[in-house]
């Protein structure tokens, strides 16, 4: 790894032909990821809008329905994701130091945490299914308008489902990063892919930080 960097003084490792410098390349990649995250915000924004509209139209049904979400599993998942953000940040830091082994170690930890999130989510979905909380003919909740409660659960499944898909994509990205780290690609000078992957991972975590209170916590006291 070190020998590659030293032999390619004119054209540093990882620099693509159309950039003038690694700095320009790094700036471009980071900006690109930020712009992509903005589109993601708007992507989820459409769903948050639908949620806000219906929650203000049917506050009572949403309150009743939200009580049927599994708060213990949701809280556990929140903890898992926050921890995974920490390990991801450590992995990015390690990549900036050019410490490939530490990068892999922290990436593996992040990956396991992300996968456990999905396992917990799977358990939650199964329980929801048995509790007749999946919108459709078998949907049933007592004590409120069934249609409105279904709206809540439709949004619950779409929002958490899309989030889960983003998690799965994230796990794929982590594997690519592990592979690159294993090949010794990351150096003190070149670690853009890790930075960009880190941005993505933190973003997916942050989406959950919004989903958890909106779907599990709000109006639970009612």
């Amino acid at each position: 790894m070190a020998d590659i960097a030293s032999t390619e003084a004119v054209h540093p490792a990882g620099l693509q032909h159309h950039f003038d410098s690694l700095e320009q390349q790094s700036d471009a990649s980071t900006l690109g990821m930020w712009v992509f995250l903005v589109t993601e915000v708007l992507f989820f924004g459409g769903l948050f809008t639908a949620y806000l509209v219906y929650r203000s139209t049917y506050p009572d049904a949403f309150a009743v329905a939200s009580k049927h979400t599994l708060i213990a599993l949701g809280a556990l998942n929140t903890a898992i994701l926050i921890t995974s953000s920490l390990t991801m940040a450590l992995a990015v830091f390690a990549s900036q130091e050019g410490n490939g082994k530490a990068v892999i170690r922290f990436l593996v930890m992040t990956w396991i945490l992300g996968a456990s999130f999905l396992v917990v989510k799977g358990i939650e979905y199964t329980t929801d299914f048995h509790d007749h909380l999946v919108p459709g003919a078998h949907f049933f909740i007592e004590g409120t308008n069934i249609g409105h409660a279904q709206l809540f659960f439709s949004l619950y499944f779409i929002m958490t489902g899309l989030h889960a898909i983003h998690m799965i994509v994230g796990l794929g990205i982590l594997i690519v990063m592990m592979y690159m780290a294993g090949k010794g690609k990351f150096t003190k000078e070149y670690h853009i892919p890790m930075e960009v992957a880190g941005l993505y991972w933190h973003f997916v975590d942050i989406v959950w930080i919004f989903l958890f209170p909106l779907l599990y916590l709000i109006d639970r006291h009612k």
Partner: protein, 346 residues
């Protein structure tokens, strides 16, 4: 050659002349700017046409004054348009408060228009109305979104499923006018057309009188009310399980959650279809939903019936006997009386 082509539709409502005035103003402004810009471009293009291959244009950067002028002037013109057109919008979409308006219920479905007159006449794809009278249409859809459009009146409003929307007009000329569905609604969209027939008052009276001997809308609603045994709960005798309906329409109602709503068409509809949504303060949410038990037409009848229930008069009248001998036949005078309902059966 073009003389056979009409350029704008007939002005057949009080609104039409106002809309046309605004339209002509906009046409004039547009024509002025199109001629100004096209003319200036042509003039410059010819005057400053390239005369030799190596010629260059003058080096002019811009002029703040000009930029300001051609920002402010269009903005000013736009504001005039805005105020003028907003005023017309209010007139078109805010039904007059007068009581003299003739109410007609409009039910849209794929692919026809159904009309229910207060006096019981029902029409499909034809709407008879008197001239020079305010007509109020209370509209809903049974399936997808439709749009009620009468070009000669310059009125249009989308008709939504699950909602009541009110549109009004006052026709100024007797005649027959196109009625179009303007919101795409499927295969028969372009065949979801009809006619609005505007009649002189005398003709209209004759038409109303010539109707088949059907119940008035309210009377039909009363039948539904009885058949569904609504009175079991909505009566003074029933231990006050449900709120009293007399004199309810258009009044403010306090809800369980502390909010206040006006008991309008939409509220009544929701209370029948989804009783748990907005429960009146002091009552339990025990009413079952009637979704699937009543269709949109019966709903309109029920609402019309509830509208006719005047504040409970102290002098009770006799219950109308029900032909079908319904088990829960009402014995509660205050509720089942069609007091104040136009009970003139023909």
């Amino acid at each position: 050659m073009l003389s056979g082509i009409p350029l704008f539709p007939e002005e057949a409502s009080t609104l039409a002349t106002k809309v046309d005035a605004l339209y002509f103003f906009l046409v004039a402004v547009s024509a002025f700017f199109v001629v100004l810009i096209a003319g200036t471009i042509l003039y410059f293009a010819i005057k400053y046409r390239r005369r030799s291959e190596d010629e260059h244009g003058a080096s002019i950067h811009g002029a703040i004054l000009l930029e300001t002028v051609w920002t402010i002037i269009p903005l000013g013109i736009a504001l005039v348009m805005f105020i003028w057109s907003a005023d017309i919008y209010f007139q078109a979409y805010e039904p007059p408060k007068s009581n003299s308006a003739v109410n007609v219920y409009v039910l849209a479905k794929q692919w026809m228009w159904k009309f229910q007159h207060m006096d019981g006449q029902r029409e499909i794809n034809e709407l008879h109305v008197p001239v020079n009278t305010e007509i109020k249409l209370i509209m809903t859809s049974q399936d997808v979104i439709h749009s009620f459009f009468v070009p000669d009146f310059r009125i249009k409003m989308d008709v939504l499923p699950g909602r009541y929307r009110t549109l009004w007009f006052q026709a100024t000329k007797p005649g027959t006018y196109h009625l179009f569905c303007a919101e795409y609604c499927g295969a028969g969209h372009s065949r979801m057309v009809g006619q609005v027939i505007v009649m002189k008052p005398a003709d209209y009276q004759a038409w109303i009188a010539g109707g088949v001997g059907t119940d008035t809308l309210a009377a039909a609603g009363q039948k539904v009310f009885t058949n569904l045994a609504c009175v079991t709960c909505h009566s003074p005798d029933s231990g006050a399980r449900g709120p009293m309906l007399s004199g309810l329409f258009d009044q403010k109602v306090r809800l369980q959650n502390g909010q206040t709503v006006v008991a309008d068409d939409a509220y009544l509809r929701e209370s029948i279809m989804d009783p748990g949504a907005q429960v009146v303060a002091g009552y339990q949410p025990i009413m079952p939903t009637y979704q699937g038990l009543v269709n949109e037409e019966q709903l309109l009848e029920l609402i019309e019936y509830i509208k006719t229930l005047k504040p409970a008069p102290s002098a009770p009248t006799v219950t109308t006997p029900e032909p079908d001998g319904h088990a829960a036949a009402p014995k509660t005078p205050a509720m089942s009386s069609p007091a104040g309902a136009p009970a003139a059966h023909r």
